[in-house]
């Protein structure tokens, strides 16, 4: 019974990942991220991704705050936020988010406020989708670990 659950979960995870890759939501950098996870840091992926979520939400809030301000004119500052968002997104393999950032940056360089607003909405949308999918993935991983054996989750939870 347990074995069946593990296999199924694993299959589900693979399928989800395949879909995400196919959609371009994730790219090969995510695989690199997964490869960095080893015995010395068994929760590395979820750690980093959670940091990413935390930072990204800050950035998104800043961006929104900047754009919604009537007297907004500091495109340079927006560019800096975007740059960071682009850097972290590309580093974890969030491909679509990064692409929207690129378009966003182009709009901001042209001082195109309307374009920036549109890009921001798109960015938030993509980010939400990514976050949901990755949460799904992590939940499946947790369940898989649980199903694989009682010892493991305890150890891992203790580590971090």
């Amino acid at each position: 019974m347990l074995g069946w659950g593990v296999d199924r979960l694993r299959a589900d995870m693979s399928r989800l990942l395949a879909i995400l890759f196919h959609q371009g939501v994730l790219d090969e950098q995510f695989l690199q991220l997964q490869q960095l996870q080893d015995e010395s840091s068994p929760n590395f992926v979820s750690e980093v991704v959670n940091i990413y979520f935390h930072e990204s939400e800050k950035l998104l809030r800043n961006l929104r705050g900047l754009l919604l301000d009537r007297e907004f004119s500091d495109y340079k500052k927006m560019g800096i936020h975007l740059n960071q968002f682009m850097g972290s997104s590309s580093s974890i393999g969030a491909n679509r988010v990064r692409n929207v950032c690129v378009a966003f940056r182009a709009a901001s360089e042209q001082n195109n406020r309307a374009g920036c607003l549109r890009a921001l909405e798109l960015l938030e949308h993509e980010y939400c989708y990514l976050k949901n999918k990755l949460h799904e993935l992590f939940q499946m991983e947790q369940q898989r670990v649980l199903a694989a054996g009682a010892r493991y989750p305890l150890q891992q939870q203790q580590q971090h």
Binding site: Q29, Q32, L33, L36, S41, F44, E47, V48, I51, Y52, E55, I80, N83, Q84, M86, G87, S88, S90, S91, I92, G93
Partner: protein
Amino acid sequence: MAAMQRVASSLGTSASTYGSCKGAGVKVSDQFPAGLRVLVVDDDITCLRLLEKMLRRCLYHVTTCSQATAALKLLRERKGCFDVVLSDVHMPDMDGFKLLELLGLEMDLPVIMMSADGRTSAVMRGIIHGACDYLIKPIREEELKNIWQHVIRKKWHDSKEQEHSGSFEDNDWHKQGNDDAEIASSVHEGAEGVLKDQKKRSIAKEEDDAELENDDPSASKKPRVVWSVELHQQFVSAVNHLGIDKAVPKRILELMNVPGLTRENVASHLQKFRLYLKRLSGVAQQGGISNTLCGPLDSNVKLNPLGRYDIQVLAASSQIPPQTLAALHAELFGHPAGSMVTTVDQPALLQASMQRPKCIPVEPGMAFGQRLVKCQTNMSKRFPQNVVSAEEVAPGFVAWPSNSIGTVGPGSNLGGMSSQNSNMLMDLLQQQSQQQQSQQLSSLPEPSRVINVQPSCLVVPSQTSATFQAGNSPASVNQNYSRSPMIDYSLLSPQSNNSSLNIGQVSNGDLKTTGVSGYSGLGSISSLSSCSVNPDNSSQQVQSSTMTIRAARQLPGLGPDISNFQGSYGAKSSEVLDQGPLRNLGFVGKCTSIPGRLAVDEFESMMSNLEHEKFYMEMNGNKVKQEPNVEFTDNTRAGIPILSQLPPTSSDLMSVFTE
């Protein structure tokens, strides 16, 4: 090698020093580059965490900092406790470049910049500010594995200059290759002052060290004067005003009127500038230089606009007189073959060009080639015999540039490569000059070879092959290798991968053979290796282009120093060639299907170190092997996009334009 060991041991020592800083005994000298002490500065925690993990996997000692000010404080407190710094460009409390400059001034640490912004302009800024390298996010582990080279390089150059005080040749040479490619790649930016400033900085770093070491070894290192773009512009305008001959540091200093600048600073900068000019004069910038030399006559033409000037000039010109190139490049690649024009002759060259151009009205719109020709004819008269031999070969050679440059020049053929056009042109010119050089070199011992090479480019449509210098560009090629993972040469090549293709002996006699031998040189470009001998027409054309590119690289006498430069050129020209008129499928076909023309043993002799053994195997074997072609075809297709992404950067230099 002794220097290397010294460096490694010094690093090991410093590692243990670091260990003592931390209070823990760290012993890493045997396992270098493991134990390299890296400081990472990035305000983006995600990236910071990722980098830390990746660097730890590379067995480096990692310290992370999310704030530049904290990092600076840490570095100041613990001087000598770090080997290399990785810093992000955009940080809230301090600009990454500012940190870079401060670090460069205060402590001689190699600093690698990182950014999500991979646009050429951004990377260019990194170069200008003196970054050892510029990594574009997302950063992969493989890139981080290699950062130790910057540490070694820096220490090696420093120690080398201690050993050979005053003779910068080797270092300069290596830097030359890098710098030329940097120039080539940055030329299209049109940043004139940037171009020279960047070269200045690279020269300055080396020679500053040497001067500091030689002049005052006991004193502590003085803070280096940062020759910023503006400062350099002032310097150059002062020099232009005075005239390059009459420019003395004291007068320049007065003209510049910069507080805090000393005569010594100006003197050393002037020395570097002069060397730089010498190099430039060989790179088809003669017209500009000769103009400058007759400065009083035409003060409009300044040296600074050389960057843009090159592009227009190159685009306009369809001919580069080989004599000039030959002569001038003799100095560049000054192998003492005895008959080469050595650096000693350089002043003579400049003299020669100086006397004549006075009669030449300098017009900005004047075709560069024309000016060159005029200058050249004068100079050639004064040249020793070896140049004459180049002239003999000239007719054939001259014909080539018009064809190839004509192809490349308009840029319309290069689908979407306009920005790289000038780079290629620069490369082309430099290649030509190098080729001339190599021809000169080879002409003395084996005249037949030179001549053989020449006609081949005339006869065979894929002419560019002959023009390529036989430079091994292991560095650049390796870069290409890493960039094009899909191309898998190991499948076909049983030979060692690191052999650099070196057609040391261009085969005698047969035109085809020469052309083919050119092909054999193709191995050096990994990305181009996708062009395998393929009976299929469509892929053949790509192949021929790549093959010619490689061939060009393989000329005797040129050391690996050129390779970097040529590597970049090869990458670029391959693109050009792909789109250009190199559709001589027959050429490839001839190579493969008419083995009688090919002296297999000649190939063998030519291919001492083939990076691209596949090609070797195919050529050397009886006929084209069909099976590998399948893979190649795929690679061929892939090769082109890869090529378009390949910037002319060999390690340092290549990394600039790395994607």
